[in-house]
C-alpha cells in the first residue's frame, strides 16, 4: 500500500473531514491498542522490577526446556520459538487478508482469514500444553530437609537456588542431580498472569476473526463496499502478536 499523496496545505482541522484521514473506527482501535499497550507494559515492567529486586530468579532455560512428545529432552527455547513463529505466520496471513480486502477479493479474504484463525488456535493449543506441563510438572525441591516434587503454580515455585553439591552428597544423593530450593512465589503469579492475560487476548482475537470470517462469507463487506472491518480486526491481531514478541523477550530470552 503506497503512501497517500496528500496535497500540501490541506486544512485538516477546518471540519467536515477526519483530521487524520482515517475513519473514526480505525482511529479508536489505535487508541484502544495504546491503552492495552500501557496495561501490558505495566505488567511486564512490574515483572522486571520484582525480578531485579530478588537475588535469585528462575532460570528460563531450566524452566522452559520441554517440547511436546519429546519426553524429558532438554530443549531450551525450542517450544517457545515454535509458538513465536506460529504467531508471526498468522500475522502475515492476516496482512494478506487485509490486502485481499483492499482488492475486494472475497475469496482471498476468506482463505487468509481461515489460515489466521488456524494459527491462532495453534498458538492457544501450544500455550495450553505449556501451562499443563508447568502445573503438573514434578521438579524435586528440598523443603525443610525433605525432598518434595513440585509443579510450578501460583503458590509453588520449585526453581529457587540449587542445592549445593556437598549437601546432596551428605543426603546420600548424586551430586549431579538438579534439586532446587523453593524460589520466589511471585514467579508463578507473573508467568501465569501475564501469559494468561495475553492468551485471553489471543482467544478474543480468534473469536473476532471467526466473526469476521463469517461476515465475509455472508457478503456483508461486499454490500458495504469496503473491507475496513477486516483491517481493524487485523490491527487487533497484530497487537496481540506484538505483545507476544515482548512477553517472549521478557520471560524467555533475557
Amino acid at each position: 500500500m503506497s503512501t497517500t499523496t496528500i496535497p500540501a496545505g490541506t486544512k485538516w482541522w477546518s471540519g467536515g473531514k477526519s483530521p487524520f484521514n482515517a475513519s473514526y473506527g480505525k482511529v479508536m482501535m489505535w487508541y484502544f491498542l495504546m491503552s492495552d499497550a500501557f496495561t501490558f507494559g505495566a505488567f511486564l515492567i512490574s515483572y522486571g522490577t520484582i525480578r531485579f529486586s530478588v537475588n535469585h530468579w528462575a532460570d528460563p532455560n531450566q524452566v522452559f526446556n520441554a517440547f511436546p512428545f519429546a519426553g524429558h529432552a532438554n530443549l531450551p527455547l525450542a517450544f517457545v520459538s515454535l509458538m513465536t513463529f506460529i504467531l508471526i505466520f498468522s500475522s502475515v496471513t492476516m496482512v494478506l487478508a487485509v490486502h485481499e480486502g483492499h482488492k475486494m477479493n472475497r475469496k482471498g479474504v476468506e482463505k487468509y482469514m481461515i489460515l489466521t484463525i488456524i494459527g491462532g488456535i495453534g498458538f492457544l493449543s501450544c500455550q495450553a500444553w505449556e501451562w499443563t506441563h508447568m502445573i503438573t510438572g514434578d521438579h524435586k525441591v528440598l523443603v525443610d530437609g525433605v525432598i518434595e516434587e513440585w509443579g510450578t503454580t501460583v503458590t509453588k515455585n520449585p526453581w529457587g537456588p540449587a542445592v549445593p553439591a556437598e549437601t546432596l552428597t551428605q543426603m546420600g544423593l548424586s551430586a549431579t542431580e538438579h534439586i532446587n530450593t523453593p524460589g520466589p512465589i511471585a514467579f508463578g503469579g507473573y508467568f501465569f498472569g501475564i501469559t494468561g492475560f495475553h492468551g485471553f487476548h489471543v482467544l478474543s482475537g480468534v473469536v473476532i476473526n471467526i466473526i469476521m470470517y463469517i461476515k465475509t462469507k455472508l457478503g456483508h463487506f461486499d454490500q458495504r463496499g469496503h473491507y475496513e472491518m477486516i483491517e481493524k480486526a487485523g490491527l487487533y491481531w497484530h497487537f496481540v502478536d506484538l505483545v507476544w514478541v515482548f512477553v517472549f523477550l521478557c520471560f524467555y530470552l533475557v
Binding site: S23, E231, L242, V254
Partner: protein, 142 residues
C-alpha cells in the same frame, strides 16, 4: 480500479498497489531477527558459566534492540501505521516514549529494593557481593 470507499470521513483514498512482495519480505526480516535473537539467547545459555557481566548485559541489550526492530516492522508495515498521516503516527509514537522513562525508573527501583534487602536498609554490608581481599604481594608494607 475498484471504487472502494471507506467511510465518508476519509478524504484521500489510499492507493493500494498490487504486490504482496513487501509483506513476504518483512516476514523474512522478522524471521531472521527472531532467529538471531534465539541464537544470542542460546549463546547466553550455553556459555552461562563462563561469561562476564558486561558481555551478558550487552548481549541482552542487543536482543532488546532486535525486539524493538521487530516491533517497528510489525507496527509500521503490518499495521500500516507507516502509511498513515504523520500526525496520527505521532499521537501513537510520542506517548510510547514514556515507556523509556517507565522502564528505567522501575528497573532502578527494583535494583534499589534488592540492595536495601541485602544490606538491611544500609545497616550491614551486602553478603551477596563478594569483596576481593586486597592483594598481598611479598614485600608489601602491611
Amino acid at each position: 480500479m475498484s471504487a472502494h470507499t471507506s467511510s465518508p470521513e476519509v478524504t484521500f483514498q489510499p492507493e493500494h498497489s498490487g504486490g504482496t512482495k513487501k509483506i513476504w519480505k518483512i516476514f523474512w526480516v522478522l524471521s531472521a531477527l527472531t532467529i538471531i535473537e534465539l541464537a544470542l539467547g542460546y549463546f547466553l545459555y550455553a556459555k552461562s558459566g563462563s561469561l562476564g557481566y558486561p558481555v551478558i548485559i550487552s548481549t541482552k541489550i542487543v536482543i532488546g534492540l532486535l525486539t524493538l526492530a521487530k516491533a517497528y516492522y510489525i507496527v509500521s508495515v503490518f499495521m500500516h501505521l507507516g502509511d498513515e498521516v504523520r500526525n496520527l503516527i505521532m499521537t501513537i509514537v510520542v506517548p510510547l516514549i514514556l515507556f523509556v522513562w517507565f522502564i528505567i525508573a522501575f528497573l532502578a527501583d527494583g535494583e534499589s529494593w534488592k540492595n536495601l534487602r541485602n544490606t538491611n536498609a544500609g545497616s550491614k554490608p551486602d553478603a551477596t557481593k563478594q569483596v576481593a581481599p586486597a592483594a598481598v604481594n611479598p614485600g608489601d608494607k602491611k
